[in-house]
Symmetry: C2
Subunit: 326 residues, 2 copies
DNA sequence: CTGAAAGCGCTAACAT
DNA sequence: ATGTTAGCGCTTTCAG
């Protein structure tokens, strides 16, 4: 490129990184050469010379989980629009693996997005070696983050159930490892002390399909007419167990999930869920990271959920009423 | 490292890449130094100097699709065991995007795994710039590949339905862009000419939930008692539409999916499916690629499916019989 | 078997 | 505004 544009390689570099420092005519000539040569700069050389790698890392606990794969997709797409590649890391919900992964990935990228981290924030920051980082589903001072508004999630779900006349509602906790889970717990606790409805906390529970299924008996024993699961997958487990046990949903039991995953709309009955815009989360995370890499100041974004009213919720005791009606 | 082990940097490099060329005592000394310093070589410098990047790329049409996210997970894990990082690419089911992605990714990796490619093989190979590549769900001469055994998938599904006494079966095609879809079409065609059962081909069809739902009327009109969908998601769409239309599954209609995705086990009724071990596919793809990078010869692996008999299939006309019983 | 030296392609200071 | 120079951290000849 330098040769055919008749300039020095240093000038080509400037055209690529700080075009405002280059004369208009030269700029044009170099850009033409780049175009005709289909020239693409070498990232390895760039990184080595102290420039940017145009690569970010996205670290998730489990890429096979649709919750994360949707976030990764959105983040990758957004990063791609500015020419960044993405390195994918997995942490397996293990703090040590997570720190190792951050430490390892940080060496090769301009910045990283860490989803649902389980290690202490300080350890994370240390492992990132000063690289810009944004946290998804966790807030920490000094580090930009994007998280679902847990307060609104609980409020939307409980309000919906209460408006349906439920007054005893089971609320299932999530893994203690997740900040979002802990935060939701606190909110539920506060709400339990305040609202007229009775909130029965169910914990510990595993937020998987099997974990949800295993919960059914405890839910029934607690005498509730409705349950707010930790997430959609767990809610589907409850749904399946209920149907297997001959309990009608929503007539005997209303079930509300969280996240609004596509799979919830494939169940029967269709799962009522508090939907979180995961694409927005992923895209926002990428946005925040790119801004931070560009030297911007950290920001914390909260994603507001929306209620997806579907078939798994209804008023309590509909069946009982029908049965007692002669 | 070179300093504290008292050797030249070139020797450190040899220890890392071809330890057999180094004296036993020196080797030990350098390895100790590496250990105490927690030294990790710089990939950018390595690549620049002509060495390996210890990075591979995995390209999928859509990472939010569980089919691919499971493959990616398995491939990434396997690559991770030998210290390789993975760059994630998405092709959006568009041949041009796909070629661009391959071309772009190939510059930065030791090799690539391309899942369900839609571009011509020669174009793919060209875009890969001579980098080792393995294809998933597509066979091409000269390029290693791993694919599900489509013949066995069709055989398993049809045999199952025939053994249940179905003799008119709808078979739904997949996207013409997919090699696997075309291949399955050919196999179905051959089977249609041979078997005693009547196979009604339904095409074109979109392998999504909505695509499946939209198919219900055509399926009913064809007068079949069972349907083999292109994949699980589409099958779930058929299931949902059937239930919405008041048709009982499996009594009025048996439905068989393909892939054995977890979500199929969360539906109601549980989806009968021809399961493909996607983890094995991902791991095998990584295996083949690493072997190829190491200079091995290309190989083609076929993954054999297993039938997951669940609730969405039964003998035909069960309901009719019951109704005509009295 | 190991040290020495060249250079991968780029960026960032410095010089003009 | 552009050319020049000196590396970035490694691998790879080539000597010894």
């Amino acid at each position: 490129v330098a040769a055919i544009a008749g300039v020095h390689s240093g000038t080509v570099s400037r055209v690529l990184t700080r075009p405002e420092l280059v004369g208009a005519e030269t700029l044009q000539r170099v850009q033409d050469a780049i175009e005709t040569l289909q020239y693409v700069p070498n990232r390895a050389a760039r990184q080595l010379a102290g420039g940017s790698t145009s690569t970010i890392a996205v670290l998730v606990p489990d890429i096979a989980n649709p919750f994360f794969s949707i976030i990764v997709q959105a983040a990758r797409r957004h990063a791609g629009t500015v020419g960044s590649l993405v390195l994918l890391g997995e942490a397996d919900l293990d703090p040590t693996t997570e720190l190792d992964a951050v430490d390892h990935l940080a060496r090769h990228v301009d910045g990283l997005i860490v989803c649902s981290p389980t290690s202490p924030t300080t350890a994370l920051a240390h492992a990132a070696r000063g690289r810009p980082m944004v946290l998804v589903n966790r807030r920490a001072r000094g580090i930009p983050s994007v998280a679902a508004n847990q307060g609104a999630i609980v409020a939307l779900a409980i309000d919906h159930l209460v408006s349906l006349q439920h007054d005893r509602i089971a609320v299932v906790s999530g893994p203690a490892r997740y900040w979002s889970s802990l935060r939701r717990d606190r909110i539920v606790e506060r709400q339990a002390a305040r609202g007229p409805e009775k909130l029965i906390r169910i914990t510990p529970a595993i937020p998987t399909f099997a974990g949800g299924s295993a919960l059914l008996s405890r839910i029934r024993e607690s005498g509730v007419t409705a349950v707010l699961a930790f997430n959609d997958i767990q809610a589907l487990g409850i749904l399946a167990a209920a149907s297997a046990a001959g309990h009608a949903v929503p007539d005997d039991l209303s079930v509300v999930g969280v996240d609004g995953l596509p799979t919830g709309a494939m169940a029967s009955p269709l799962l009522t869920s508090v939907g979180v815009d995961l694409e927005a989360m992923g895209q926002t995370a990428a946005d925040l990271l790119l801004a931070r890499i560009a030297g911007g100041t950290p920001a914390d974004v909260e994603i507001d959920p929306v209620l997806l009213t579907r078939g798994s919720t209804a008023g309590p005791g509909r069946q009982r009423q029908e049965k007692s009606a002669p």
